[in-house]
Symmetry: C2
Subunit: 306 residues, 2 copies
């Protein structure tokens, strides 16, 4: 039966398996997006909407999804969430998948309310949501239920890309297992039972690009779970390390990059005058770096076959 993994795979085949993070930070905005209004929350949020729409315009034909990082909207309160809603509506109008990177996790009816916020709410919901499993299965099961009922998807945090992720996620257990490997086995039971036409479940997992050495084992333990792989670029993950995340068809993973793409005009270039770039220059910079990332990822995806 077709599930959201199949939809994600269809889009991946048509476009690419890259995901662009939308983490708006006005300190990286060029001057043309800023004016006297960006002293106020409303003005900042308007600049964020303009920024996001510009990014979406440039990436929507080349990447499988955009991934707004909730914190960067929530920091502006309800105005920020309104900017996120407008961003999501715009992304939908461009037929691009939206992954709400919310990392929510709670219990029972509270988790269900979060799941509805990010998967079914008319204005705020995207197509997929990231979920923190620290509270156990009665914390993440409501997300699975809401996703399944509404033909949406989720990514459970398994092994995150940050340096200190090892503190809890890599703890060695008494049975000799590493914590996140044991979690992978548990998630596999649910993922195997919910696989769709392409053999993947709508229950994906987050595995950082910075830990590609572990990815091979996780891939074996979780053959039916699509990986959301953050950390490429600024966080230190390298394209050539990504091969292990993909299956033999070059599927089974989506690769996320945020600042390296959306702020390419100031992060990737040495032009000290980046604040003065025009809208067209910014658009070109984002488009160029997206196409390069897409090619890099495709090289890696399809080399896994050779």
């Amino acid at each position: 039966m077709k599930n959201f993994a199949d939809t994600l795979i269809e889009h991946s085949i048509k476009k690419n398996t890259a995901v662009v993070g939308l983490d708006p930070d006005i300190s990286y905005f060029p001057d043309f997006l800023l004016n006297k209004d960006t002293q106020t929350t409303e003005g900042i949020c308007n600049a964020i909407i303009k920024f996001n729409k510009l990014v979406i315009d440039e990436v929507c034909d080349h990447v499988v999804a955009v991934k707004p990082q909730l914190a960067y909207y929530e920091v502006y309160g309800s105005e920020g969430i309104k900017a996120l809603e407008e961003t999501i509506q715009y992304a939908r109008s461009k037929n691009i998948i939206v992954i709400n990177d919310a990392k929510r996790g709670d219990i029972g009816s509270t988790s269900k309310a979060y799941a509805k916020a990010f998967l079914t709410n008319e204005s705020l919901s995207g197509d997929m949501v990231t979920v923190n499993p620290f509270l156990g299965s009665d914390g993440y099961n409501p997300f699975i239920e809401v996703a399944q009922e509404n033909n949406k998807g989720l990514f459970l945090l398994l092994k995150t890309s940050n340096p200190s992720s090892s503190e809890i996620q890599n703890l060695k257990l008494q049975n000799g297992e590493i914590l996140y490997m044991q979690m992978a086995k548990e998630i596999n039971a649910v993922a195997s039972a919910t696989k769709g036409d392409n053999n993947y479940s709508f229950i994906g997992t987050v595995v950082g690009a910075t830990y590609s050495s572990d990815a091979k084992k996780i891939r074996e333990l979780l053959p039916h779970s699509i990986f959301l792989v953050p950390g490429l670029g600024v966080q230190g993950g390298k394209a050539e390390d990504l091969a292990v995340f993909f299956d033999e068809k070059g599927l089974g993973a989506v690769i996320s990059s945020s600042r390296g793409i959306t702020y390419s005009y100031c992060f990737n270039k040495k032009d000290e005058n980046w604040r003065n770039i025009s809208k067209e220059q910014m658009a070109k910079s984002i488009a160029d770096v997206t196409i390069t990332a897409k090619q890099q990822i495709n090289n890696v995806r399809f080399n896994t076959n050779s």
Copy 2:
């Protein structure tokens, strides 16, 4: 040096150590709060604001804090967050501490953005925030930094009140330790280094009332961390089990109850006509059950001395 734990303790001494959760669910709202407008998101959010103000009016002199559960607002998108902002403003005007029960957790600059949203944003921030530590110390340290800089506080999830919290939190490690006990030791290092005039840090921890058997050991491991104890009432925690959470002065813990107080007119009473109760009857029900809870908690707090 005075920190936010001292503020929390001052309020606890003046009022009580009870915390009331604000988890608005319109299926428990009496008819007088509902009308034809509550078919729309805006109408629902207006009813939520009225409900919360009514609860705050009744509890503000008797409890140390209110604890809005973010999911119940986020489920209504930006309108819901606006309702939360108005609730927080109202609580502030009544001089009651606000704990944003957000269970957020991410990394680096993203965690910092969440911390600012819930601890420093002009409209949305409360005084304390709950934090999920699954991503490790570079995930929760930004919350600690923002809290310290702004004289606010946080509660790290340590042992949550839900049945499946054991799946990760109670894993037995190779060194013989239970996961959350090991975490308690690590948190103690930071809590000890940041204690204030009353010997408590602004870095508190969440320990469920349903696991009071473990609380004694956690209390010993974490002598400088205030416990936020949810799960009293509907979740099955009993008042008499709470003694172990308090220190010899009857301090060091705040006890949270949500539905048992705010929906006392339908949960605690057998009146099938609760939908028809008046505003005054609802207010009286909430006030009565708050005062009873306060007395129960005080009995337990001060019996620990005897």
